[in-house]
């Protein structure tokens, strides 16, 4: 029987046992609607508001600045569309390597007459704050730049970009889905007005996330309904999920720093091991300004999905950097934006480590990758 090694924590994480334990009563015993005035409702509301307090404390924000949503995608949509809807038009600045939740929302705004600048990145995937400064126009209404990229893990200089936004009085949105609970975030020092975060990337449940909205940020509703979440996100709250998110944040506040050091060590062990044993492999992203658990690799002249399938058959869950959908393969737009050549980009594989990853797991993966890549290259039609 193969060992099973999960190296896809940037996609999702297992729910932490303490999180699950905190959630369970809210499915059955404390099941009320938090908007109800009776005792059943009050119990649910206590859970909801307790979670809000935990998240707010973690971010050093006010309780009233936290809005719960159904996922990172909704948070990004609410931030961008909410700011845009409060204005009649204007210009948005974002980066070319944002998650689709941001990119496609910006593209949707373009259809409505807004204009958008997509900032380039360098070979490490970093946005140059000077480019952001130069992109600002008199009618710029929003700057949205992610904290760290999910594919390559590069951490952006958000404090420098935030300063530019603040000097010009432009709202600054940060998609922090990959960094919230993994890296420290200082909302004030980074000039952040809106921050998207998610539960299932930090050992919380799926289907729950949030958006920090700095008090005074001019937003309009993009969804209409009841009074929930101060009307900013109407709809009955996912109480068990939100309680889980609150607990996950509490656990992250406790474990985050030590885990980041340990996981970064394993990440580097993986890269060093592969670099020694596998020819024609490169590391994507910034060598140091990178998520602790993210190791994005390109294997030249091997196709991503064949590596991922071969690893899957060895019990290893990793992620393909290029996706074949309906017979059409596109190399990752993130790697393309970073200037990675197609013959490398087609062989991109992301390994994202987490709290359960061990040194033995990493050594097993190195041992599995080496013969797999050699075999795939031996049958390849494009390698001399």
């Amino acid at each position: 029987m193969n060992r099973r090694v999960y190296l896809d924590h940037n996609a999702s994480t297992p729910v932490h046992p303490e999180v699950l334990e905190a959630m369970l009563p809210y499915f059955s015993e404390r099941f009320g609607n938090p908007s109800s005035v009776h005792g059943f409702g009050r119990e649910a509301r206590d859970g909801l508001e307790g979670a809000r307090e935990r998240v707010a404390a973690f971010l050093h924000a006010g309780k009233e600045e936290i809005v719960f949503t159904s996922g990172g995608t909704e948070s990004d949509n609410l931030a961008i569309k909410g700011v845009a809807a409060a204005r009649r038009g204007g210009h948005v600045i974002t980066s070319s390597i944002e998650h689709h939740a941001v990119l496609r929302t910006c593209q949707a705004l373009e259809q409505q007459g807004f204009t958008v600048t997509y900032l380039p990145v360098d070979g490490h995937g970093i946005v140059d704050p000077d480019d952001a400064q130069r992109a600002v126009q008199p009618d710029t209404i929003l700057i949205s730049v992610m904290h760290a990229n999910s594919e390559v893990g590069t951490v952006q200089p958000i404090a420098a970009i935030g300063r530019i936004a603040r000097e010009r009085g432009i709202p600054f949105h940060v998609d922090a889905v990959q960094t919230f609970g993994k890296l420290p975030i200082d909302l004030d020092a980074s000039g952040i007005d809106l921050l998207s975060f998610s539960g299932h990337k930090i050992y919380g449940p799926k289907g729950v996330a949030g958006l920090y909205i700095r008090k005074g940020t001019r937003m309009a509703s993009v969804q209409h309904g009841g009074e929930h979440e101060r009307r900013r996100r109407p709809g009955t709250e996912n109480v068990p999920g939100i309680v889980g998110l609150g607990k996950a944040v509490e656990v992250r506040a406790r474990d985050m720093a030590a885990e980041a050091t340990r996981v970064a060590g394993l990440r580097d062990r993986l890269w060093e091991g592969l670099r020694e044993r596998v020819p024609d492999v490169r590391l994507n992203g910034h060598p140091t300004q990178r998520l602790p658990g993210t190791c994005s690799l390109c294997f030249r002249h091997v196709e991503s999905e064949s590596i991922v399938l071969g690893l899957d058959l060895k019990g290893v869950g990793a992620s393909a950097g290029s996706a074949c959908t309906s017979g059409n393969v596109e190399p990752s737009y993130v790697l393309v934006a970073m200037g990675v050549a197609v013959d490398w980009a087609m062989g991109a594989v992301r390994c994202s480590l987490g709290r359960d990853t061990t040194a033995e797991d990493i050594d097993y993966v190195i041992g599995a990758v080496e013969p797999l890549v050699a075999k795939l290259r031996s049958v390849s039609a494009v390698r001399a």
């Binding site: 196709e303 064949s306 058959l313 074949c324 393969v329 795939l376 031996s378 049958v379």
Partner: protein
């Protein structure tokens, strides 16, 4: 698992992988959309394929299809091989998901091209010897 056990077995242990020196026919096919590339070599004796080999760049199903396709045509009459359909390669794999049908198509196209090349060379040799 979204792939058949047969496909997985061919991917794990590809048959007939590697190049062939002095083949009697060579064919190549590329799927420009998915960037897969398959090259097939044939050794032919008395109008039949006695050995087929492949070199393939592509996703797991395309590598498996190359293995299954070259196995399928070993011993087959060249005229039939020149008409090999993608559906036959797919059947030899135990089926493919809709979004991976291209694997059988690109491999069958490379096999047909190799067979046509072998037929053309054979025709040239016969013409040259008259």
């Amino acid at each position: 698992m979204r792939y058949s056990q047969t496909l997985i077995e061919h991917f794990r242990n590809p048959r007939n992988a590697g190049m062939m020196h002095d083949p009697d026919g060579v064919g190549e096919a590329e799927d420009r959309e998915c960037m897969d590339l398959a090259r097939v070599y044939l050794r032919v004796v008395a109008g039949r394929v006695v050995e087929a080999r492949f070199q393939t760049y592509g996703c797991g199903p395309t590598i498996a299809a190359s293995s299954a396709g070259t196995e399928l045509i070993s011993g087959a009459e060249l005229g039939g091989v020149a008409e090999l359909s993608g559906a036959r390669v797919e059947a030899a794999l135990g089926g493919l998901p809709d979004d991976r049908r291209h694997a059988a198509e690109v491999v069958s196209a490379a096999i047909r091209a190799a067979a046509r090349d072998a037929l053309a060379r054979s025709h040239e040799r016969r013409s040259g010897s008259v």
